[in-house]
Symmetry: C2
Subunit: 366 residues, 2 copies
């Protein structure tokens, strides 16, 4: 694995493909952390295994497990899913596995962004985050991809979505957070995205999903279906604080032009009813730095937009909500060539994210 | 990775290839353990890196490093050598990386033998050995090879050598040790080797190298050069306790017939002068279970036979001894199509083994 410091992907002819472009595989991390995953992570592991199995219908899946959890992960996952030992602080492959970029010859390289647990000492979610921050490089080494060293720029994979044709969507509260790159102007951040993702246009959404502790990652509110088309998390309940937020995002999307000069077609994806944490769930979580991780009644950032686009499948969350069925039908219409698999994901959601957050695709080298 | 429990490699048409047959790669482990590697393993790491570099001229090398040592290993090794995180108790890839077997279609599977640190609670060298014992399976998973579960049979890779044509050489003090499989008869052990290595003849040597703490592994005293030809560690010094030992092995080899009915051609490889540990070296070793790891003046099992056959190279030890040159010339004559690279290996030897002990080949799938 060569570590590249002196050039950028854009300079070298690399771009980040859209998630809907072909993959050679998917990376996940086996959950373990007892202040993230209630009651010793047993329920979360079952949900992660279902996600891995669903994705493995489409593409090879590699699951990273700690030394302590390797045997458990190996026993829990089917034989055709690879388990590798790799230490981490938690299980968010989207946010700290490499962002992969590709050139016209189909060669793949990784980007090793800096990671600081969604805000570092300013408003990060745990400390330390050293093992998470090592993962991108370890994974590039494992998959034998050269890697761009961009640890001086804090970015999570869940805070960007691209169309593969020069357009990136981000949310302002995340990328402009004081916990990320406060020394950089918005223009400097855009330029970094251009250089590393190989994009020319960055669309800024004013917000994400209410109470999303990632500072409102884009991957929970809006995702590309294909170039020129996005889904947007939506609610018709004017009393819901999310109503104004989703409307503000719609306005931004309607004003935007993508890198090819197109207006975006916006598909609304209705949210489930608000999901809140129960007292029993809270009692199954270790404290973090002596503080409770969650409080009973706390609203979770449940959204159907947090799905993964596998080669042949869409793997999306369900919440046991009447809206689950409609959301599945909506995505099935939007992805007619992929079978939508819906997985009950409350046990992932309690950890703070969802299916897109726990996966990271490796583009195919074709 | 499928775990195979119900059939044996012989039943499934698999055999262990000779080390001189083509490889698809080599596995090593970055040294760390402070009661094995003097003065914090810094000198040992330099020697391991030289070995990895030498082998990498021939074939892809993957080096396993603990989470704590990953960054150090990555920095110490050149970019074209892969580093993967994997925990272990020490650094003897030969002994607990998988033994790989191959069928006529070129498919490769691993064998996961039981490992108990060269003798378990009877006369093993450290406790615990749990992480070492997990490595074979983890490595099969990493390399996407199905694995035979043979953990109920204790065997180290360094205690066997095969010609790939049905013959295996072992030493009696190791394979019949009370610290290995004392519940099994010699015939049962032979039958296990037949079933798992795909051999029909097992040649038993009466001993190995004097004071070899592995219970005299065969890979330190005798190795196949090609089918029908072996090298044997040798001394002309009748005062040396090794003299009788090497002569006894020669007698056993001269009596033997291999699986094809051939007599073996035995090439003598003269040993260096006895190598002993210095007081300064002992002072650089942590104690093990409260006991000194080595005593000043202790004789080490130095032998030139402990070399690795890479695709294009022979990687062999040197000891700063006048015999180094002759040993190199001898091996160069025996392997005319491979360039012999000699690496100063005292810092590996102090750990208790040598270049063959710290490497494990993966046969090519051709």
């Amino acid at each position: 694995m060569r570590i590249i410091k002196d050039t950028t992907p854009l300079e070298d002819g690399y771009r980040m493909p859209g998630e809907f472009e072909p993959h050679q595989g998917c990376i996940m991390i086996f959950p373990e952390r007892p202040d993230s995953w209630q009651y010793g992570a047993y329920a979360a592991r079952k949900a992660f295994v279902k996600v891995a199995e669903a994705i493995s219908f489409s593409e090879p899946v590699t699951v990273c497990a700690s030394a302590a959890q390797y045997d458990n992960a190996r026993a829990a996952l089917p034989a055709h899913i690879r388990v590798v030992e790799m230490s981490s602080n938690d299980s968010w492959a989207r946010d700290y596995a490499p962002t992969f970029v590709k050139n016209k010859e189909g060669q793949i390289r990784g980007i090793d962004w800096g990671f600081n647990a969604w805000g570092g000492l300013y408003d990060g979610l745990y400390f330390p985050w050293d093992k998470d921050n090592q993962m991108a490089r370890k994974l590039c080494d494992l998959f034998e991809k050269d890697v761009y060293d961009k640890r001086d720029f804090i970015l999570e994979g869940g805070s960007i979505h691209v169309d593969g044709e020069g357009t990136c969507i981000v949310t302002a509260p995340c990328l402009l957070s004081k916990g990320r790159n406060p020394q950089m102007s918005r223009e400097e951040i855009e330029e970094t995205l251009r250089q590393y993702l190989g994009v020319s246009v960055v669309i800024w959404l004013p917000c994400g999903i209410y109470n999303d502790e990632t500072n409102e990652h884009v991957d929970n509110i809006c995702a590309f279906v294909r170039p020129g088309e996005v889904v947007l998390a939506w609610t018709q309940d004017k009393e819901d604080v999310q109503y104004e937020m989703s409307n503000a995002c719609l306005a931004a999307l309607e004003q935007a032009r993508d890198a090819r000069g197109r207006s975006l077609k916006v598909h609304k994806l209705l949210l489930p009813a608000p999901v809140t944490v129960t007292k029993e769930e809270c009692e199954g979580l270790d404290s973090c730095d002596g503080e409770p991780t969650r409080m009973p009644g706390e609203r979770l950032a449940a959204s159907y937009v947090n799905f993964y686009i596998a080669n042949k499948n869409i793997v999306m969350p369900g919440f046991g909500d009447p809206m689950d069925k409609l959301a599945k039908e909506t995505l099935q219409e939007l992805f007619p060539h992929r079978q939508v698999i819906q997985i009950y994901a409350r046990d992932i959601l309690i950890g703070g994210g969802n299916i897109h957050c726990i996966t990271q695709q490796i583009p195919a080298n074709i």
